[in-house]
Amino acid sequence: MELQSQTAAEEAIRPETATIIVNAQPKTVLSREVSYTEVVNLAFPTPPAPGVIYTVTYENAVKPRQEGSLIEGQFVTVKEKGTSFDVTPTNKA
C-alpha cells in the first residue's frame, strides 16, 4: 500500500525499484524519484542529436501532482508500478 503522507524527501532516503512505462515500453528504475534526464536516457539511450530538448510528460505518478511534464532538472515521484511517460523531441510541423 502506498504511504501517501510521506514527502518526496523521505522517499529519496529509501529508494525502491519501480516499473515505469516509457514510450509504451516497460522499464525498471532503481529509485522512485525519477528525473527528466533518467527518463530521456531510458527513451533514447543514444541521443538522436546533441542538445535536443525533449517534451517529457507523465501520468499516474504519486500525488499531489499525478500528471504533468518535466523539464531538465526536475523530478517526479513514481509509483511502484504504472507511472507512464511520453518522451519525444516534439519538433516537427
Partner: protein, 399 residues
Amino acid sequence: MSHPLIKHSPDLQRLRNEGYDIEIRADHLLVKQVPYVTTDKVVAHGILVSELSTSGNTTIMPNTHVVSFVGSIPCDHHGIELDNALINQRGAFAVGGNLTASCMFSRKPPEGYPNYYAKMTGYVNILLGHAQAIDSTVTARMFPPVSTEEDESVFRYLDSASSRAQISATTEKLKVGKVAIVGLGGTGSYILDLIAKTPIEQIHLYDGDVLYTHNAFRAPGAASLDELNEALKKVEYFQRKYDPMRRNIIVHPTYVDESNIDELRDMDFVFLAMDGGTSKKYIVKKLEEFGLSFIDTGIGVYRANDSLGGQIRTTTSMPGHRQHVWERVSFADEVDNEYEQNIQIAELNMLSAVEAVIRWKKFVGFYADLGQEYSSIYKIGSNRLINEDWNEHQGAQAE
C-alpha cells in the same frame, strides 16, 4: 455587388437578410430567382423589377405600386394566366438596363406599400403561392452569396447574415492587421485553413519548399495530380487554393533567415510551424527581440511495436513570458524518422493547428482564457492534454 443603398436602407437590408436575391441595376431594384408557374404548369424563375425612390443614400417610400416582370406570363397552378388580379399590362419592354419584361403587375394595398420590403415580398408571395402548389419546396429565399468589393471586406463573399449585422465586438477582435505563418507543412497548412476564414487583414506565408506528393497527404483539401505535377512552391499552392475565398494572402516562397527576418517586425502575430533546428533558434531570438508574440508548434512520434505514440506541443511566447520556450523547445537539428516516414498522421498536424489557433484567439480575446497556460502538450496514447507554465509561475516549476 453590395450597393451602398442596400447597406443604408433597412427595407433592402431586410430583403437581403431574408435571403432574397436582390440587385440594384440601372437605378432599379431587382428581385431575382422568383418562382412562378408557366402556362405549362411547371415552375420557372423570373425577375421582379421595381423603380427605386431614394433620398441620398437610402430608400424612401415607393412612389408607385407597380412592378415589371421578366419571365413568361405567370399563371396559377392550373396554368391559367393571372389576369386582372395581378397583370395589368402586357407587351415586351426594356427594364433595368438590359432586361426585357413581358408584363407589369399592379396590386395596390389601401395605403400603398410603405417600403420596398412590403412591396417586393407582396408580389413574390402571390407568385410563390401558385408555384408551391406544384412544388412545395420552391422558395425565393435562396440566400445567394454576396460578392464584395476590395475595400468592403477581406472576404470575396459574405453570407447575407454577415452583411446585415454589424460585425460583433467579439469577431472584431480577430480583425488584426498582419499574421505570418512560418512553415506551410502539415501543421502550417491547417493553420492557414483556419485563419484564412477569419477577418485578419493580411496573412503572410513563408516557406521555401515545393509541394511534393507526400505533402498532399498532410494538407487540407485534396491536391490533384495536375497540381502536383506543377511542382508549385507550397506557399503558391496554398495561396491559389484560398484566394477564391479571401484576399491578401501574401506569399514569400523562401525560408525566414537574416535576409528577410525584418519583414516580421511589424506582424501582429506569428505562427511557427516549421521543423526545429538552428534556423528556428535564430527566428525565436529575433521575434523576442522585436517584442512579438508567437506560438510554436511541434509534433513528436515514436513507434511502439506496430503502433505509433507521441505528443503534440503548443508553446506560446509573449513579452514577459519567454523563459519556458527555452526549456521546452528543441533547437537541435535532429531527424524524426517516424514522423517523416508516416504520412498517415494528418490529424496530428490538424490538432496541432487547432491548438495553436485556439490559443491565438485567446490571445486576442476572442475566447476567454481561463487557464492562461503558456505550454500545452497533447498525449496521443492517453488522449490527455497537459497544461504547464501558467501565468503566475514563470520559469521552472519545483515539484
